[in-house]
Symmetry: C2
Subunit: 343 residues, 2 copies
DNA sequence: GTGAAAGCGCTAACAG
DNA sequence: CTGTTAGCGCTTTCAC
C-alpha cells in the first residue's frame, strides 16, 4: 500500500493524503475523514525508507555492542532505549559477537576492525544520526569508529583523546568500600585482585591502596594475591590466604565470583563470615544476594550509563556540547551482611 | 557523499559508478580503477535508504523483544544475530521494555498492544522482510502481530492457532529429570512448584507427575508445595518441607532460585545435601554453579532457539515451509553434585 | 563500455 | 483547501 494508491482510492492527490497523514496543511474535515477512513481500512503504514530519504532525517541511532550476552550489556541497552523512546528516536542494534569470536579474552581489538567496519557500513548506510559503542570490558580501545562524520559516544569503554565516553568509577568506589571497612575497625587486610592487565582490576586496586595508605595501615605482601575474576581461582587463592595463622580479618575481592570463592574456602576451613573474616565483592552479580550471609558489593549504574550515553549523544547531535566529554558515574555500595563492625 | 558527487569527481556518469560499486556491468579496467580510487579516498558509503527503496528489498529482519533485561533474551538475540550474519541479513531490535512497565508480572498482554503496534509501525515502515517476537515468559499471547503481511516467528512464547513458534520442552525435560531421580533410588519426593498460573510451572509439574505415576510412586500431598519462583519463598516452603519428620529424600524445585532456597533451608536445619536430601533446579541460572554442592539443573537451548527462529523465518521469507510450524527444542540436564545415587 | 533517463514512495514548495 | 511537480540517492533498462 502506497500513498499513491490511497490517493487513488480516495480520489484525491498524493499531496492531500500526505497532508492528513502528517497534519502539515489545512484539509477540509470532509476530505480528512474520507482519507483517514481509507488509511485505517487498508492498514497503510508509511514507508520510512522513502520518507527518511526525502526528509533527510531518520531519528535513528546506531548502537554497536561488542557482545550482547555479556551481562552488563542488556541494562545499558535498556537505558539507551528508554531515553530513545522518550525523545522519539529509534535504535538499530548491531551485535559484534566478539565473545564467541575471540580466543584470548584480551586479544587486541584491532583485529575486529573489519567486523566493526561492516557494522558501521550498515549503520551509516541507514543514515543513523549518531552511534553509541558499548564495550564488553571497560578498557581503552583504539579509534575503532574513525572516519565517520557523525557523533559517537563510547560506553563502558573509552578511546584515547578523541571521542566522548561514559563509564563508572572503579577507583573511587574501591576507595570508599575500603574506607568503610577501615571505619568498621578492620586493620588486617587481604585483597584478591582481578586478572593481570585488566584496567578495572588496576583501578580498583589503586582505590583500595589509596584508602589503606591514607589510613596508615600496612597490608602484608603475602595478603595481596592475584585472581583472574573466576570463582575457581578465587576459592583457590582464598584457601591459601585463610589457611595462614595470621589470616586477614577482611578480604576485598575485586569481583563477586571471587568473593563467593572466598565464602566456600572459608566454609571448608571452618572460618565464619563475617565473624572471623569480612568479605566484600564488586559488580553486584546475581549471586551476591543468594549467598549467605548476603555479600556486600558494589552496584554499577548500568542503566544510568545507558541514559547518559544517549543523552550525551543527542546533545551532540543537536549541536550542544560539541567538545569531547568523559563522564564517570559513581557506583553505589550494596550493604550485605558479609562485613562485621569490629570498631 | 553521493553517487552523483563521486561521478562528478571521476568525470563519469552515475550509472558507471553504480556499475563498479555493484559489479553489475562490464566496466573498463581504467574507469574502474579511477572510480574505486575516489570511492576509497572519499570514504563513500552507499545510502541504504535509497538503495532499498529502489530495489524494494532490505535484507532487514525486525526483532521485537518484550524485555532485553530478562536474562534469557540476550542469548536468543545472539543466536538470531549469528544466523543473520551468516545469511547476509541485518536485524533491527525493538525493545518493548515490558518489565519496567508492568505492575503485575502476569498482567494481560493486550494492554501493551499499543506499544507493540508502535514498534511494528517502525519495523514495517523500515520494510523489514520478517519479524521475530521474543517473549519474556514462555506463554500463550494473543495475535499481537496481527495484520502484518510478513512472515512472523514467535520465540519463547506462542500464539493460539496462528503463527509459527520456537520453544523448549518443559514437560519432557521435567519428566526426564524426575526419571533420573527415580532411577537413582529416590522414592520420597517433594516438589516446589512455580508461580500459580504460570505455564512453565504447569508443564514442568505435569512432566514430574507423569514420571511419578509411571513409576507407581506416591507423593504425599503435604510434600507438594507452591512457590513463586523466588529464592525467598523457596527457602520458606523448603523450611516447612524439611522440618517434617518424614521429609523428602529428593526435592524437585521448578527453578534454580527456589532450589538455592532449599539449600539454605537445609543448611539451617542441619540437613546435608545430597546425603540426606537430593535437590534439583531448572533453568541453569548462573548461581547453579556457584552453590556447593553444584546444583543439578536444566539448561534451556536459548541460543539454539535463536538459530531456529531465524532459520524458520528465513525459510518462510523464501517461500519454503509456508504453513505454521511449532518447534519445541529439547533441553539438556546439567549434572551437578546435588543428587545422590541411593539405588 | 558508457550514459540518459525513468522511477522506487514520499514531502514540500508553489500554483491555483 | 487541493493538486502538480521536482527531487531525495539509487538501480536499471535502453540507446548509443
Amino acid at each position: 500500500m502506497t500513498l499513491k494508491e490511497i490517493a487513488a482510492i480516495a480520489g484525491v492527490s498524493v499531496a492531500t493524503v500526505s497532508y492528513v497523514l502528517n497534519n502539515t496543511a489545512q484539509v477540509s474535515e470532509e476530505t480528512r475523514q474520507k482519507v483517514e477512513k481509507i488509511i485505517k481500512e487498508t492498514g497503510y503504514r508509511s514507508n520510512m525508507l522513502a520518507k527518511s530519504l526525502r526528509k533527510n532525517e531518520t531519528f535513528l541511532i546506531g548502537v554497536i555492542v561488542e557482545d550482547v550476552t555479556v551481562w552488563h550489556t542488556a541494562p545499558i541497552i535498556d537505558g539507551i532505549n528508554e531515553i530513545a523512546e522518550i525523545r522519539g528516536y529509534n535504535t538499530i542494534l548491531s551485535n559484534l559477537r566478539l565473545l564467541s569470536k575471540i580466543e584470548s579474552q584480551f586479544e587486541h581489538i584491532s583485529i575486529f576492525q573489519k567486523d566493526i567496519d561492516k557494522a558501521l557500513d550498515v549503520l551509516i548506510g541507514m543514515q543513523v544520526d549518531g552511534v553509541i559503542y558499548v564495550g564488553m570490558h571497560d578498557r581503552k580501545i583504539g579509534h575503532v569508529l574513525h572516519d565517520i562524520q557523525k557523533p559517537v559516544v563510547y560506553c563502558y569503554c573509552y578511546t584515547d583523546g578523541e571521542g566522548s565516553s561514559v563509564r563508572y568509577s572503579n577507583e573511587k568506589t574501591a576507595y570508599q568500600l575500603t574506607q568503610d571497612l577501615i571505619d568498621k575497625g578492620h586493620r588486617n587486610f587481604g585483597v584478591i585482585n582481578g586478572l593481570e592487565g585488566s584496567e578495572p582490576a588496576r583501578l580498583r586496586y589503586r582505590g583500595f591502596t589509596k584508602a589503606i595508605n591514607e589510613a596508615g595501615i600496612e597490608v602484608k605482601p603475602e595478603h595481596i594475591v592475584r585472581g583472574n575474576w573466576s570463582y575457581q581461582k578465587g576459592k583457590e587463592v582464598a584457601r591459601e590466604l585463610l589457611s595462614r595463622k595470621d589470616h586477614p580479618d577482611a578480604i576485598v575481592a575485586m569481583n563477586d565470583e571471587m568473593a563467593v570463592g572466598v565464602y566456600h574456602a572459608a566454609e571448608e576451613l571452618g572460618i565464619k563470615i563475617p565473624e572471623e573474616v569480612s568479605v566484600t565483592g564488586f559488580d553486584n552479580a546475581e549471586i551476591a544476594q543468594y549467598v549467605s550471609p548476603k555479600l556486600t558489593t558494589v552496584d554499577r549504574p548500568l542503566q544510568e550509563m545507558g541514559y547518559r550515553s544517549m543523552e550525551l549523544l543527542l546533545n551532540m547531535i543537536h549541536g550542544i556540547n560539541v567538545g569531547d566529554v568523559n563522564i564517570t558515574l559513581p557506583c553505589s555500595i550494596v550493604e550485605g551482611e558479609s562485613v562485621k563492625d569490629r570498631s
